[in-house]
């Protein structure tokens, strides 16, 4: 996954911060806060993506637990927060809960991208339902991470193959009748997109494969994200209650 997968130069959704051109060149700038309880990991990420001249990412703050995170995020108002799922003081979910007003801000919303080493479905689905715009594993390369950060900044969703797998599992066809037809089912197209993500395709490759534009791929993924956050399907609810965040 060495190639950045970018929108083809068109401005993103209405709230996108300026026009986005592909590649990590100048003209792109994003303010980021790192939240992780492992100092070594924070240092590593900082070293990898924090070269603002090259990447356009400016790390404006760091935090190691929930209280710190809320304080730093409130004070610095970053555009994107890299959030660890497991944190002392209630986990990433608690940070999301306490920062909810900032997420809903219409002027300059704070968006969250979850990062974790966890393999547990309830952790992953938990932070997404808590309001994170995406989930990537910590094994991600620097280039891909920068790319994901910009994608989140523009309001798109970022799914790792693993997350796509969990979502397909959660929305698997069960005999239980859906509570809400629109929210509890994935369309055939959304399912195809997720499947390709799970198979390791980048958005650009998915677009080629399905003969649609990258923008369309992104809107499908965003739709899935919205369903994930709002659905009352019992598997999702079960995962959510396991983390107490219904």
């Amino acid at each position: 996954m060495s190639e950045p997968t970018e929108a083809n130069g068109t401005a993103g959704p209405a709230e996108a911060a300026g026009p986005a051109d592909s590649g990590g060149g100048p003209g792109r700038h994003v303010r980021v806060v790192l939240v992780d309880d492992h100092r070594m990991f924070r240092t590593g990420v900082q070293a990898e993506i924090g070269q603002t001249e090259q990447t356009g990412v400016e790390v404006v703050g760091e935090a190691a637990d929930v209280d710190q995170a809320v304080t730093v995020i409130t004070a610095t108002r970053p555009e994107v927060v890299l959030l660890d799922v497991h944190l002392p003081g209630g986990g990433g979910v608690e940070v999301l809960r306490r920062c909810a007003p900032l997420m809903g801000d219409t002027e300059q919303p704070v968006r969250f991208l979850a990062l974790s080493v966890s393999d547990a479905a309830e952790d992953v689905i938990g932070v997404i339902r808590g309001g994170a715009r995406g989930y990537v594993t910590k094994t991600i390369t620097g280039t891909d991470l920068v790319d994901s950060i910009f994608r989140v900044q523009e309001g798109d969703a970022v799914f790792s193959p693993r997350l796509a797998g969990f979502v397909l599992d959660a929305f698997a066809s069960t005999d239980a009748p859906p509570v809400d037809e629109d929210m509890d089912r994935l369309t055939q197209r959304e399912r195809e997109v997720l499947r390709l993500i799970a198979r390791g395709y980048a958005y650009k490759e998915i677009a080629k494969q399905l003969y649609i534009s990258v923008k369309t791929v992104e809107s499908h993924v965003s739709a899935v994200l919205r369903k994930l956050q709002l659905s009352n399907r019992h598997e999702l609810t079960r995962w959510a209650t396991a983390r107490r965040l219904v």
Binding site: E3, S118, P161, G165, A172, E205
Partner: protein, 430 residues
Amino acid sequence: MSEAAAAPLAGPRPPRKLYRSSDGRWLGGVARGLAGHLGLPVIWVRLVFVGLFMADGLGALLYAAFWFFVPLGVGGVEAQRPPSPLAAETSPDGRRRRVARRPDKGQIVALLLMVVVAMVFVGNVNLSGGARAYLWPMVFVGAGVALVWRQADNARRARWAEVGRRRRTVTLLRSVGGVLLVTAGVSGIFVLQGSAAHLGSVLQAALAVLVGITLLAGPYLVRMTQDLSEERLMRIRAQERAEVAAHVHDSVLHTLTLIQRNAENASEVRRLARAQERDLRTWLYKPEGTGKDEADEPTTLADAVRRNAAEVEDKHGVPIEVVVVGDCPLDEGIAAQMQAAREAMVNAAKYGGEGGAVQVFAEVEGKTVFVSVRDRGPGFDLDSIPADRMGVRESIIGRMERNGGAARLRAVPDGGTEVELEMERAEKTS
């Protein structure tokens, strides 16, 4: 509890504690335990008790006292084993069962013997007529108490080992029988005392007292048993956690040592780290009892895919990311598909490993099992492979088709190769 201090021992062996034997006991295991403790044959001890019983029932009193105060344990005559509950489970199952059944026969024999001895005893004892009348009620009471205590022993033992566990009704019947015997005995004593006229009111009073005690002590008792069982559960959990921690810490330390030793060998370090990571994830995220030990064969699709990926990863040192959606049991066709998938993984690791991780995706949808293996290597053209190279054609495509499935190889537009394998399941088991 160690009166009859053990004889001075030659070696510096720990002093033996006196336990009642839970194996091969007749009544309470007292004689057996004592015999084991003193190093005498059981029969001697039993005879001594019987003899003492003749002496104004002293034996019975002694026996009862031992029974009441000496804890039930494992050990006895042939046992130089430590009195630990685990030791009882080490012997093979069959023997345990036989041993467990024998006390029941023994118990009947013992009871008969007791009755006979009691008869003789009653015949011999020169009590005054009044006192003599009390004897039978006393015997009843004794027998009842013995029954109930014995039942309590059984219950304790059943907790240690899965032997001697009978149906609940039998247990209940015995306990009730014991209580009835005791009641009969006590009533008899009352009747003999000439307070038969007041028997009704006495019984009523006794009942009232009983109900009162139950009301007062009941909640405490219930809470105590609940606390106890909760505590046991917590202890078991803590033990499990400790076991996991021990295993994980061990293997992590081991891996770290190896990594330090192989610091110059980048691919080996990577391999070690990946293997350790997998191991750790297995312990952390796998549900209980799903083949945490590597020994058994995988029985489900997800398990098989992960296992194959892990082995290929270890062998070729290329990271393989696995995503599985849904799961199903393995059948013959799916097993062949797994073989083909494994070949595809090996190929991807060998020829496309430079492009980064190999991505494996498996999905069960209704009756269809779909597996894709993709790499980001240079890619290759199936038609350009010489016809004498049978690898891909035979081991992947041929194998799938022979088993009624289908395989497709395609070059991915942006570089790399993807192998898609599809197979129908033999039967749908939901």
